[in-house]
Symmetry: C2
Subunit: 587 residues, 2 copies
């Protein structure tokens, strides 16, 4: 493409709502323009990167026998009601009525629609297995869209759904898709990590996230410094660095006044006890949906130095969303005291105790009486825990659950997710088949997502510098950016056009900046737009018989005889392409 | 693809709601499955045809300098309010609120969004012209979706928008797009016709429709039997075959009783006057939007044998939608009589008279008194027409407006539409630029649509027989359908697999039917799915050293030595491809 004939506009400054580098750069390079919060138009350059990534995804999935279909954006509510997710998904699922007052939703994901699609035709085990995917627009009504395409409302996703006869088959398919995802992200040429994760309200028992590593990532990952263990902090097991179990003898329970001491920090300071040896009591409502019948509270005990992991609590309670904390008033109704003076002794509600607390003896808790605490409290003697479990957030330095290494904290952008779903949807929607033994059985399902538009932004977030984007060659919208430095000089112009045509005929995507602008402006824009290679074509260089090839990533400048310039550029891009296909899984 | 590993299901019978052949065949061949009224999932085969057509469209547009972008499905209401179309589009524009109670619509078309997109960046005439297009999902809340993808709610459309400095530039771009559309539909290989059309509520002064000819088409076209004149009946000028102007002298006006004579047919019979010499009076409300202030009625006079063309009336009244007829009660309030006894004499409202009526003298109309008519009525003497205009529907046999031929009626499926919009949107949305003369001017726009999914169905509607689809090779999801007739015979299976791989390596799309089914079942499915070429691979033929190539369109069977079979198939497809690229514009 030639700049003068294109709709291509760069901005000097990013808009104020762009908080992270990739969002700022996408705005500045004209890749996206905001239409409404979380809703964007994609310019030509962004669309090219998107399409290139889509094609990588397609090739790897087709190679493994997955079949592309296309399901609608607008879904009838009935399908979502069949699985109960019409209610369960909450306000993130956008609901509306059509002109005939019928209920619809905008597709946030397609488990229901695909299950309906297959149940209409599949009859027997002979029709199985198969794996259907689509690349389609999705809409999730995010409460607070931000970070550009990273957490937006309308986005493009590749979603695949596999259907097998039994769980062995489904787990085999899971592995095939896991491998496909490795190939896809290897080809992308970014550093990424595969982590254990929570299944959220998709359901399912086995799941991994593919995370592109970047400091601005919204996901908090715990990775081992010695082995390949990696998990989203949401599910990372918390194991103390040292196993400190107190062997003190039980001391007699005492009540003591603690006027004004409300927080763990206050208590720690006043009692001169480390926070890790104090115990805090938290209260949650376990109700889902209707709360008209009153809240169903539970108490959670943690060491004062620990933080609750709401996902672990959600899973142990068997809920589909993390529970809400009780209000002050509800705490008072439950315990007789305000938060800050509460504890487990005498409570009539289930108590969930973190394993960390079970190592303590003779500890301090609230007395369920305002401004009083109890000391020398011991589990079993003074209260019964309903369940002892791993409920705390993992911290840097915690022990690796797989080896004797310790965990480090890194940030990631979730770009892919594989789930083994089992029969959750096929049972709810009666998607069954006649098995070899003549019985009707629900199909075994898996689902597999890749955030197409999010991945494109993640690539920028991981690969940029202060001047602009540094595209991985695999999805670079432009391979070679040709800066025509003397657009008024007919000879120079012709030379640039020849290079442009020749590179194109070699299959490279080129942008010829033929605008009537100063070289400085063109260089700045080239750095911003971020093609892997730039060629400067100016009168002086032409006279000298050598052109400058500038490598975007390193800013290295290579002087190349004019005659070799196309060959040099072509082989640079080819080499970058093949080096990108080496595995990038980061350990 | 191999059938045994694919998600591919054919049906013996189409569902009851499939009324036309193409809809029935798409359902039976498993191309589409209904998700809700007017909302479909596309199976692999349909998606392949869609993608092939999209690529033809892309190639022809890119060649002409149009640039692909992608705009969202969900639009903020504000943009539609800026142009007034938020109200004007009525219930066909699906409106909803998001979780924050903000108003949105599902994109039915993208004039507003694209105008917003460009006005953010375009500053000067130097930024013009450009032509942006997208291939995107659209949603229109059709009141009565039917005919599968022909009149559905969610569909895929290619929409392009051009922006020029002035109307000369815009009309030049219009011509470029007109030519691009000719190339696109030529390459598709279908019979089509370009017709004059109404601009609907898109706005704009110049417009053509591209119509694929098919008896089941929803559009009624009038085409000349001698020249290239063709128009949608909505805008086709109505010119009487013979110009019969009565030269009778005016006779005196008479009132006479017509008890029980309400219709033109009744009157014609009772008075023994041909319907073409009677005059009927119709009443319409010209209000748009709010009618609280009472209706603003007009009367329309037509010969008894003619039908009103509501689009012509809409345009002459300057409305954006055809006006509604008055209710009986409103007629009574306006005229003093019930419909059937009304006429123009003594009316206080504007009278629009069809040119056909102006040729009549001493005619009969209602007396505006129940069960009475007037005879010997003459325009000018007995009433004044506010306007005389062409208001009737054109009929077969009417004179061609361009030559001395006469018009014939044919049916078409509108697959493409080009509009010269002018400045309707750029003025409403303040999309202006600094012109060469230093003045700020609104951009001159054009818009250009192609119904991608509708075109794919139109291809089937035009090209099928009683056994199934006959795909034009340009968008055939499969070029060669290989029927493996003896799947249990290892040698035959191997032969089929070799042919399959070789055809694929020649770049052909193949389906290998390797199911454990009888040949008859496979032949039936092959005819239904409609690949241009079928190859039968069975034990008997293999022994004889010859295979059968069956041409779908003609059912011709060619016996070909095994060794030549791949070459023969490849050259058949190649030939079909190149013959399809000859112009198909039908005259």
């Amino acid at each position: 493409m030639k700049w003068s004939k294109s709709f291509l506009f760069t901005l000097r400054d990013a808009p104020a709502d762009a908080e992270i580098d990739s969002h700022k750069l996408m705005m500045r390079a004209g890749l996206i323009r905001k239409v409404a919060p979380g809703i964007y138009s994609y310019g030509t350059l962004a669309l090219r990167a998107i399409r290139k990534f889509e094609n990588i995804v397609r090739e790897e999935l087709n190679k493994r026998g997955a079949q592309e279909i296309l399901m609608p954006v607008v879904h009838p509510a009935e399908l979502w009601q069949e699985t109960g997710r019409y209610e369960q998904m909450g306000a993130g699922l956008l609901k509306f009525k059509n002109r005939n007052d019928q209920n619809f939703v905008l597709g946030a994901t397609h488990e229901e629609v695909v299950t309906d699609y297959v149940r209409k035709d599949v009859k027997s085990y002979r029709d199985l297995p198969f794996n259907l995917y689509q690349i389609q627009t999705k809409y999730r009504d995010e409460i607070r869209p931000r970070f550009g395409l990273m957490r937006c409302r309308e986005f493009i996703m590749k979603d695949a759904y596999s259907f097998d006869e039994n769980s062995e088959g489904a787990l085999k398919t899971y592995q095939v898709m896991y491998d496909a995802y490795c190939s896809i992200f290897d080809r992308l040429g970014l550093k990424y990590r595969i982590v254990q994760a929570d299944a959220g309200n998709i359901g399912g028992s086995q799941t991994h996230e593919f995370q592109v590593l970047a400091d601005a990532g919204e996901d908090h990952l715990m990775v081992c410094n010695k082995c390949d263990f990696a998990a989203n902090i949401e599910v990372s097991p918390a194991i103390d660095k040292e196993n400190k179990k107190s062997h003190e003898a039980d001391k007699p329970l005492e009540t003591f006044a603690t006027p004004g001491l409300k927080t763990i920090a206050d208590l720690s300071k006043a009692l001169k006890v480390p926070e890790s040896e104090l115990v805090k009591t938290l209260f949650f409502a376990t109700n889902e949906g209707d709360v008209k019948l009153g809240v169903k509270p539970v108490a959670v005990l943690l060491r004062g130095s620990d933080e609750l992991n709401p996902i672990k609590l959600k899973n142990i309670l068997g809920l589909s969303n993390p529970p809400l904390m009780l209000t002050e008033r509800e705490v008072q109704e439950t315990t007789g005291a305000m938060p800050g003076s509460c504890g487990p002794v005498g409570l009539k509600i289930p108590i969930y105790m973190d394993v960390g607390v079970s190592g303590l003896k003779n500890f301090v808790v609230g007395a369920n009486k305002d401004d009083f605490h109890l000391k020398n409290v011991n589990a079993d003697r003074d209260f019964k825990a309903f369940k002892v479990a791993d409920l705390r957030l993992t911290k840097e330095g915690d022990r690796c659950p797989k080896c004797d290494g310790h965990l480090q904290s890194v940030r990631g952008i979730e770009v892919g997710h594989v789930f083994y779903l089992g029969t959750k949807y096929s049972i709810a929607m009666n998607a069954s088949f006649l098995a070899q033994d003549g019985q009707s059985k629900p199909m075994e399902m898996g689902c597999y997502g890749i955030g197409i538009t999010r991945t494109v932004q993640a690539a920028i977030e991981q690969s940029h510098d202060k001047d602009g984007i540094i595209w991985p060659v695999s999805i670079a919208p432009i391979h070679v950016h040709i800066c025509l430095l003397d657009p008024q000089d007919e000879e120079v112009k012709q030379a640039a056009e020849i290079i442009y045509s020749e590179l194109k005929s070699h299959g490279l995507d080129c942008l010829l900046d033929d605008r009537d602008e100063r070289p400085g402006v063109k260089f700045k824009d080239a750095d911003l737009i971020g093609a892997p290679l730039r060629i400067n074509v100016g009168a002086r260089a032409l006279k000298a018989g050598e052109l400058e090839l500038v490598i975007r990533q390193t800013k290295e400048v290579r002087k190349v005889p004019i005659a070799n310039c196309v060959e040099e550029a072509t082989s640079f891009i080819r080499a970058a392409r093949s080096s990108a296909s080496t595995p990038r899984m980061s350990l």
